[in-house]
Structures are given as C-alpha cells and as structure tokens.
C-alpha cells in the first residue's frame, strides 16, 4: 500500500467519503435497532415491502417492527447509492490505483451486504443474520479507511508533515524505538475485537433475550451452573415478553466467553495506551488515539453492563453495538496510520541517546 508519489488532496471527495462513513455508522445503528426490537422478519418480502415498491411504501403502514426494518432498508439504499458514487469518484479522480480497487471493494461489499440482508428475510435464516451483522462491521471499517486515505492527514504522513511533529526521540531525550511491537499489539487487539463482534452477533441472533440476567455475577455466581436441571430452572423462572426462545447452556457459556474476551480487550487496550504513551510520547497523535481507544472500551464495558441491568433495553443494546463498531474502526485506523508512518520513517536504533529536550530534530531533517 506504500505510495511514494504525493497526491493532491481532493477535499470534496474526502468529505464525501467522510459522509459515507457517517451514514454507514447510522446504518449500523438502524440495523442494531432492528435486531434489538426483534423486528428482522416484520417485512416478509424483499426487495418489496408488503407488496409495495420499497420507496413507495406508505408511512402510515410503518407500524411496530415494520418501522425499524423498513427505515433500515431505506438507509441501506442511501448508503448503497453513496458507496456507488464514492467508488466511481475514486476511480475517476484519485490517481492511486489501489484506491480504485478499494472503491470497487466497497461497492461489491455493499452489494453483498444488501443481498445478505434480503436473503435473511426471504429465506428466514437467522444464521444469515450473523453474517449480515459481521459484514456490516467490516464495511464500516472499509468506509472509514477510505475516508482516512483521502484525507490531508494521510498525505502528510507520507511527507512527515503531521499536525504534531513526529518526534525523533521519545520522552526524556531517549531515542524513540521502533513501533513494530506496538503495531503488532494494537493489530492483535483489533483482531480480538473483531472476534468479539462475531461472538456478539451470534449472541444477538439467538433471539433468546438475556442468557444471563445479572452482572458482574452470573446467576449469582462467578461461573454459572449450566447443568440441565439448572438451565431448566432458569427457564421456568424467566418470563420474558419478547424473547422467542428458551435459553440453553450454550448461550450461557457464550455470554461468559463474551465477558471474558471483554476483560481481555480491556487489559490489552490499557497496555496499548500505556505503551503508546511511553514509546511515542504523550503528544504523539497515535498516543492520543490509543488513549481515546481506551476511553471507548471503558464506555463499551459500561454499555454492556447497562444492557444487562436494563434487561436488554433496545436503545441501550443498540448503543453497545455502535460502541463495538467504533472500537473496531479505531483500532483498524490506528494500525493503518502506524503502518503508514513506519513506511515513511526510518527505523531508529534503540540504544541511541540524544541529549537535549524532548522533541529533538524533525525526522525529515534527520533523514537528510
């Protein structure tokens, strides 16, 4: 992905890419509301809506679950159109061949996502709902990445002209070591977040409500009893108005895995933020982004707890979905920026000590 040619930034294209990413985020929220309100099958036909052309379905009929499912389809159509425009615009106006391919990939992915959503309804297949949720997250990462790659900030990474000067040295005058291990740590954390999203999508498509009704304990214990007799007892006492299915031992274990992975992600993002600050200095944009990432994870943990405490209130559960999406995108963009910077900067020998105040000479000057 390295590009040694400076590209003139197309500001309208960049802002359109940002708008596409923002609408994709809203679409994720709309989709989250569909699942949270158990409305995924409320419009039995596709691509029509109750026999109407989707765009002509009377608003007076948008009742109950139909409102969430139908508005989700309308927003998806808008995002599909924006993605098409973006792909064409990139093809015509961006000189980087890899950006053409990225635009094409976004177009193909949004088509796949639309078909997945339609088939989920037409075939009444909840398993397809899991894939639809996962592809939606990946598509959001892609649109956010395109927004980043069309930005002036990205171009400045190539030249070293970032908003904050890239310090050749770290804190206390010690030379900044290579970021390879830090990049790897952030990449692995991001991958773990993606795995967590797969677990979460699987949980949500069980349509069984809350498998564990309390937090931080689970049925009053650190690890819940999942014997058949215990699960039977849970189901006997569990009166849920909108949960379709009884809970199973598998679902209980799945939620416990989700909690444990969340703990692992928290510890990893703490480590990432600490290491970024220590190795890059607190003024470095990547150190700031890592701190923001940690803040997101803390908010996400609170939202997860609130989802349970509110008995899976639809708006809270959907906010938790969006928090997960933002966390994934933040990690992905951090990695992209870090890899881009490393490609533009030389490796610095870790043993080198430079006297003087924090800051030192700019990187480009040192390269010259």
């Amino acid at each position: 992905m390295s590009e040694n040619v400076l590209v003139k930034v197309n500001r309208p294209l960049h802002w359109f890419a940002v708008l596409t990413a923002v609408f994709t985020f809203l679409l994720l929220g709309a989709g989250g509301l569909v699942t949270s309100h158990e409305a995924g099958m409320s419009v039995p036909d596709w691509p029509n809506s109750y026999g109407y052309n989707m765009f002509l379905f009377p608003p007076s009929q948008w009742i109950g679950g139909i409102f969430y499912e139908h508005t989700h389809r309308l927003i998806a159509s808008g995002v599909g159109l924006m993605t098409t425009i973006l792909a064409v615009w990139l093809w015509l106006r961006d000189s980087r061949k890899w950006m053409h391919r990225l635009g094409l990939a976004a177009f193909l992915l949004v088509v796949v996502q639309g078909v997945l959503g339609g088939l989920r309804v037409v075939l009444a297949d909840a398993q397809l709902g899991i894939f639809h949720a996962i592809v939606g997250q990946l598509f959001f990462v892609l649109t956010a990445a395109i927004a980043l790659f069309t930005s002036r900030f990205w171009q400045n990474l190539q030249t070293g002209r970032t908003g904050s000067p890239l310090p050749a040295v770290g804190a206390h005058g010690v030379a900044r070591p290579t970021e390879t291990s830090l990049r790897t740590l952030v990449l692995l954390t991001t991958i773990l977040m993606f795995c967590q999203l797969i677990i979460a999508a699987t949980m949500r498509q069980q349509h069984a409500g809350l498998a564990i009704p309390d937090f931080p304990l689970a049925y009053g214990k650190i690890w819940p009893d999942t014997t058949p007799a215990a699960v039977q007892s849970y189901n006997e006492h569990r009166l849920n108005v909108i949960a379709e299915n009884p809970i199973t031992a598998f679902q209980i274990v799945l939620q416990m895995v989700h909690r444990l992975v969340a703990l692992a992600i928290f510890l990893l993002t703490v480590t990432c933020a600490w290491q970024a600050r220590r190795r890059l200095g607190k003024s470095d944009p990547l150190a700031k982004l890592a701190l923001f990432w940690l803040g997101l994870i803390l908010a996400q943990i609170l939202l997860g707890a609130a989802t349970i405490w509110s008995n899976k209130a639809a708006d809270v559960a959907t906010a938790h979905v969006l928090g997960g999406a933002l966390s994934l995108v933040t990690g992905a963009l951090w990695c992209a920026i870090a890899f881009r910077r490393s490609a533009a900067l030389p490796e610095i020998a870790p043993a080198t000590t430079i006297s003087g105040a924090y800051g030192g000479a700019p990187v480009l000057a040192a390269n010259k």
């Binding site: 039995p44 009929q61 679950g65 009166l239 108005v241």
Partner: protein, 233 residues
C-alpha cells in the same frame, strides 16, 4: 349338524372377551409458586394495540387454579404415531385479537387444518417457525380483516412457535400430534384421552415452561386414571 356347528360357533365367539376401548383421565397440578406474570408493556406502548386495553394485560405462562390445577398442559400417548385422523377433523381457529394470539397454546393433529385469523385493526405478519424437518417455515402478511391463513403440518412437533414480528410480544405455540390420543388441559387441569385401545402405554404431559412428565399405564376394559404433578424448581 348345521345347527350344532352354529351353536358351537356362537359359544366360541361368546367366550372371547370383548375388546373395548377405554378413556384415560386425570388431573394435572402444580406444586410450588410460579414466578409472577409480567405485564405486556411493549403492547401498551404501541398506539394501535394499547388503545384496545384499559389496563395492561399480563402474560399467561402459568395458568394455575385455586387448587393448583394447571392449564395449558398437553397430555398425550407417547410413541403412538401414524394414527392421525387430522384430515377429517374440523379446523382449529387461532385468532389475533387485541394484538395477542388467542389461544396461545393449542394442539392439533398432523394433517389437520389450522386457521389463523386477524380480527385486529392493524397489520400482523404470521411467522410460523417449526423446528422439525418436514414442517415448512413461513412468514405471511395478514392485513386487518383480511382473509384467513390456513396451515397444516405433516410432522409431529411440540410447541411449534408462531409469532408476529411487527408486534414482537405476540407468540403462540401449536403442538402437532400424530394421533387423536391427546388432550389439552383447561383451567380445571383435567384431561380425557378418549377411546384408547387396550394395551400398555406411556402417557406424557408437556408444559411449555415446566417440561415433560411421563407415566406408564395399562388400558384394559375400563377407564384409567393417571395424575401428573409438576414442580416449580
């Protein structure tokens, strides 16, 4: 000679015990205190559905009488299959009224027609989600006052789920049995399985939340009584 043969034949026939079907009767009860029913809050929050009620309706997961009689239990002969008379039985009607299925628990035979009606002033979708292969899943629109939807199932299945995704609190559970030897208990908790041929059977009682109990019985030439008592764990 002929007269003698005839007398002998009649005597022989008279000595054979008469084969007579009998009924299996009983009562189902619940020990312990079930959890309190919950209000249909989402129903009341819906402008069309909520307008049909003056007070918030509650769920009916456990319908228990004053003497612990338990309703909505399907009592049937386990393992008796291939005896369905469903095709010749009258259809069973399930209505959507007040944005709730009525009744919520019912039982039919394989091949018997199930009629789903929409008596509400709003759209419902009738989403039938069987778990047994051979019973087709379907999701159909039903406009207010629109034509009835007809269903029939070829495979036995307990508590097959029907739901409306427009109104996500709407559920019904239809059990499909492959013989006429079953009964759904009412508020009195009583059941009668009629005209069971003599033999040894396992009688099974199924409740959607409480699970399954079984009893072994032998039907001879008189009615058999068997009672079931579920426990809330």
């Amino acid at each position: 000679m002929k007269k003698t043969s005839l007398v002998l034949l009649i005597t022989a026939l008279a000595s054979i015990p008469a084969v007579r079907a009998a009924d299996i009767v009983g009562t189902v009860t619940l020990n312990g205190t079930p959890p309190p029913e919950v209000p249909y809050t989402p129903l009341m929050n819906d402008s069309t559905c909520g307008a049909m009620y003056t007070t918030t309706p509650t769920t009916h997961f456990y319908v228990v009488g004053p003497d612990h009689e338990l309703a909505d239990v399907i009592v049937s002969l386990k393992g008796v299959a291939g005896k369905s008379t469903g095709a010749s039985q009258p259809p069973v009607v399930m209505d959507q009224k007040g944005c709730l299925y009525q009744p919520q628990i019912l039982a039919i035979q394989t091949g018997q027609k199930l009629v789903v009606r929409n008596s509400d002033p709003c759209i419902h979708n009738v989403h039938c989600a069987p778990a047994v292969a051979g019973n087709p899943e379907s999701n159909q629109v039903q406009m207010p006052g629109g034509p009835d939807l007809n269903f029939a199932f070829s495979q036995p299945e307990m508590f097959m789920r029907f739901k409306c995704d427009v109104h996500p609190w709407m559920f019904a559970w239809v059990s499909v049995l492959d013989s006429p030897y079953y009964c759904l208990t009412g508020k009195e908790g009583k059941f009668i399985i009629k005209d069971v041929p003599p033999g040894k059977y396992t009688v099974e009682a199924d409740h959607r939340k409480l699970g399954t109990l079984t009893r072994d019985v032998e039907v001879k030439d008189s009615d058999v009584t068997v009672n079931f008592s579920f426990d809330v764990k």
